[in-house]
Amino acid sequence: MLITVKLFATFRQGRFKEDRRDIPAGATVADVLASLAITPPEVGMVFVRGRHAEIDRPLADGDVVSLFPLVGGG
């Protein structure tokens, strides 16, 4: 399945801003995180096609996965 992964804030460091990648059928957000060496406690917000998703959410062809770290400073 072809998905788009968009990274925000500090997740971009050492990685990318946007990437299209082929993932196996049945892969979840958690699988994408693991492939990026991002651990679940680091994650602030996850959106799939603009809708909030949990990390065990299975992905579908064409999904756009947006990943934010915990950004809470002020």
Partner: protein
């Protein structure tokens, strides 16, 4: 009614067709609560003061530290050691004596949040920790107050407007904070003290938050409801993410 002093002071925004005298009256009548008189809070307070918001409530239990002055520009060197709400109150008085200040030198918690936010029209989250952010968001949802929330870290920032008590054009409720993220374990959240923050970053995000407040008060433009503006100031990329909560 605006005095002649106010008419002269706010002339540059009164002349905007979208604001005019009626808009300035709304700004003068508005009561805005700003949670946090720090990096984000400083530009929020400064610009809302300059714009003539009638009453500013300020919530902050902390005192000014030397390391704050790199970015918390509403405070100055003589304010080191003072309560931030008092330092900010004095800065506001110097900038615009027409603005009334209601200082709340407390830590906002789930126990006191609703009573505090209830007295205001618009609320700003300019805090620096998630327990407080969630307490503010829960209180604003319960009291049906629009919440402008901004956050920063290193060179990055986000700002959005939460109005979960209203529905969108699709008839579905707007997402609240708990609809777009799970409250994290605060002990693992990266802080600006640990990872750093360029002083201009909260300056930019705070100015954007103040802009959203003025838009909400005057009805100008389209507030960032169901949209998150995210900034990467390393490469100056600004992205707007349209978002929904998980519940269809």
């Amino acid at each position: 009614m605006l005095t002649s002093e106010e008419t002269e002071r706010y002339a540059r925004q009164i002349v905007l067709p979208e604001v005019g005298g009626p808009g300035q009256q709304r700004i003068k009548a508005a009561r805005v609560l700003v949670n946090g008189a720090g990096g984000l809070g400083s530009p929020v307070l400064a610009y809302l003061t300059a714009a003539g918001v009638g009453t500013l409530g300020i919530v902050d239990h902390d005192r000014v530290a030397r390391s704050n002055l790199q970015r918390q520009v509403i405070h100055g060197t003589p304010d080191i050691g003072r309560l931030k709400v008092e330092s900010a109150r004095d800065a506001i008085a110097r900038l615009n004596p027409n603005v009334a200040v209601e200082p709340h030198a407390v830590r906002l918690t789930p126990k006191n949040a609703r009573a505090i936010v209830a007295a205001y029209d618009v609320v700003v989250d300019a805090t620096d920790n998630f327990p407080t952010r969630f307490a503010i968001a829960d209180a604003c949802a319960a009291e049906r107050k629009p919440l402008v929330t901004a956050a920063v870290l290193t060179f990055y920032g986000t700002v959005t407007v939460l109005k979960p008590y209203e529905t969108g054009p699709d008839g579905a409720p707007n997402p609240g904070l708990r609809g777009i993220m799970t409250e994290p374990d605060d002990s693992v959240v990266p802080t600006c003290a640990e990872f750093g923050i360029l002083g201009t970053v909260p300056g930019v995000l705070g100015s954007l938050a103040a802009t959203e407040v003025l838009k909400i008060i005057t009805g100008v433009g389209t507030p960032l409801v169901r949209r998150m503006l995210t900034l990467d100031l390393r490469d100056m990329s600004f992205d707007v993410l349209a978002y929904e909560d998980a519940t269809p």
